[in-house]
């Protein structure tokens, strides 16, 4: 209860946004296409927040975030499809299941991996991401429903503005509270200087694992929401490029800045979709040529992220 009271202002703001959006949707002012994109923004923000916890706050460079997003997606979709849970009321349970599965896998893989430093961790997570994608590609050997490389079809469409909104806002507030707690403090210490943190008695291994698992849990929940929105999953949706997407959002938003991640998610998805509408088809190619350039430029100009408080040395 205390937790809800302290977040009063935020909840009010969130409720306000919800009302506006609901009006826009119901009155048909925005097309279903825009509606879907809006919901997708929330999902992406949730997943990116997970990466923000792992990387922005705790400084662990993970290039395999999309893998956990995928694990959550497939888990939830599989449960719903095989157990025939077609109603919205089953959603919280399957979302949780998706998130927990992702978090568990993260925990297991984290134990060996997280002792690595930046670059190596990056490659290790990248490799893990590839492994997971290969697993999805061959998932039909385990169960025909999972579809393998043909994709997982016929997932119940349970995600809506309400569900996404409630879940995302709730988890964001929880995250914010964790960040401002002891744990968040430890995480930031570890990011700043791991050796020093260890020397003052912080159990860095446990803290890092916790951050990693929690971040991946968020990704898993987001993935589950995604599965029930697009009703179709394909292994290629959860590859390295998707991980880069999340990374870009975290960087754009300023690592270690939750509000920043929200804005960055909105801008990023809006940008990508906006380009689709605005650019004539022959120049569409150039999207992915300019995005990395943007990334490089950003690194040179503001190595700590666009909206972060710290400015880089340039």
């Amino acid at each position: 209860m205390r937790f809800l009271l302290e977040s009063r202002k935020l909840i009010l703001l969130a409720a306000g946004i919800y009302v506006v959006l609901k009006l826009l949707f119901n009155l048909g002012i925005v097309s279903e296409y825009i509606q879907q994109i809006t919901i997708y923004v929330f999902i992406v923000v949730l997943a990116a927040t997970g990466l923000n916890v792992i990387y922005g706050y705790t400084g662990q460079f993970s290039l395999g975030h999309a893998a956990f997003y995928g694990i959550g997606a497939y888990t939830s979709a599989y449960l719903v499809k095989t157990l025939g849970l077609d109603s919205v009321f089953a959603l919280p349970a399957t979302l949780l299941a998706g998130g927990i599965m992702a978090g568990l896998v993260a925990c297991v893989i984290g134990i060996p991996i997280l002792r690595l430093r930046d670059d190596f961790l990056g490659i290790a997570t990248l490799g893990f991401g590839i492994l997971v994608r290969v697993f999805f590609d061959n998932s039909d050997r385990i169960s025909e429903t999972l579809g393998g490389s043909r994709g997982f079809t016929g997932i119940a469409k349970l995600t809506s503005l309400e569900t996404t909104f409630v879940v995302t806002v709730f988890l964001l507030i929880v995250t914010r509270n964790i960040i401002s707690s002891r744990y968040g403090l430890f995480w930031r210490c570890i990011k700043d200087d791991e050796t020093a943190s260890a020397s003052i008695g912080i159990d860095t291994t446990r803290m890092k694992l916790m951050a990693f698992s929690y971040g991946c849990f968020l990704a898993g929940v987001a993935g589950a929401l995604y599965a029930h929105l697009y009703t179709f999953l394909h292994p290629s949706n959860f590859d390295f490029l998707k991980s880069i997407d999340f990374l870009i959002i975290v960087i754009l938003g300023g690592m270690g800045n939750i509000a920043g991640t929200i804005w960055a998610g909105l801008i990023w998805v809006g940008f990508i979709e906006g380009l689709r509408i605005v650019l004539p088809s022959n120049i569409l190619d150039l999207r992915w040529v300019f995005i990395p350039l943007l990334l490089i430029g950003l690194m040179m100009w503001r190595p700590y992220g666009l909206m972060s408080r710290k400015k880089g040395h340039g």
Binding site: G59, L63, I113, I130, V134, V289, M299
Partner: protein
């Protein structure tokens, strides 16, 4: 029965692949030794090498030995530019920024080259400048065969390695490279020009990757702008396996990775070939993070 010869054929297949990985791994290991940076875009230089060679052979009809030298030069230039434009400005920035920049450079190279006006995203047949000939040999009752392509790859790789050793252990610049990777500050105090040494390291690493690209194109004659991604990752893991920063480690690592990949393909299923690499990485990290030839350090 034919079992032994089957195994030997597969091992030879693996060594062929491994030789190419070794060449690429060398570039990774050298750059890492000097800058403590994983040049994510290294795999893309490998791709550039293959494409440069393709153009030289098909558009200009250059004879193969010239192609090697020309491609090495062009790749060295690419490596030099990459370092000067993208990495040098960030030399004092937080490590992560460098990493992300490297990822950015990699993506940029891939997508820029995939434009229609550049290399196009198509799969292009690599013009092999000679016909493949198979030789059969029988040793100790076991027959196996190998091709002239394999001979070429082993020969070129050995030659290149010998050249590399010459440079690193017998020239002043090579000594400078070793010094800088050992201890940058002291090397600078001794009067070594860090910038030049770094550039040189990049150039040599890039040239090696370029050679790898040509050999790969000859062996598996199809090139594509995204071809550098997987070999890049695998070669990096090979470098880690051998001990990152250690030259002979990269070579041995590369060969081991190549052979493992092929053996798993042959005896299990090709679908697991990428998975094996990751398992190897995990094992290395858990058992001896400093790699086969690495010295014990408290943290990788």
């Amino acid at each position: 029965m034919e079992h032994a010869s089957y195994i030997i054929s597969q091992v030879i297949n693996g060594l062929q692949l491994g030789a190419v990985y070794a060449l690429i791994a060398l570039g990774y290991t050298m750059v890492y030794g000097i800058l403590r940076l994983i040049n994510f875009a290294h795999g893309d230089i490998f791709m550039l090498g293959a494409f440069f060679a393709y153009f030289l052979i098909s558009r200009f009809g250059m004879p193969i030995y010239l192609v090697f030298f020309a491609t090495m030069a062009m790749c060295a230039l690419a490596g030099y530019l990459m370092e000067k434009l993208a990495y040098k400005p960030l030399r004092n920035a937080p490590k992560i920024s460098l990493l992300i920049t490297a990822v950015g450079v990699s993506l940029f190279l891939e997508y820029f080259c995939s434009l229609k006006a550049v290399f196009t995203p198509d799969y292009i047949g690599f013009p092999r400048p000679f016909e493949v000939k198979t030789y059969d040999l029988s040793l100790g009752g076991i027959d196996f065969s190998f091709t002239n392509v394999q001979i070429l790859i082993f020969a070129v790789t050995s030659f290149t390695l010998a050249l590399l050793y010459l440079i690193i252990y017998r020239t002043k610049q090579g000594t400078a490279m070793r010094a800088v990777s050992h201890d940058q500050e002291t090397a600078a105090l001794m009067g070594i020009n860090i910038d030049h040494t770094v550039s040189l390291t990049f150039m040599v690493g890039a040239a090696l990757a370029g050679v790898g690209g040509i050999l790969y194109g000859i062996a598996y004659p199809q090139i594509n702008v995204f071809m550098g991604i997987m070999p890049g990752i695998k070669s990096f893991i090979a470098a880690v396996l051998g001990g990152i920063g250690i030259i002979h480690g990269a070579v041995v690592g590369g060969l081991i990775v190549g052979v493992s990949e092929v053996i798993v393909s042959a005896f299990l299923s090709s679908t697991y070939r990428d998975g094996v690499i990751f398992v190897i990485l995990l094992i290395v990290l858990l058992v001896k993070p400093s790699g086969l030839f690495g010295k014990r350090i408290d943290k990788v």
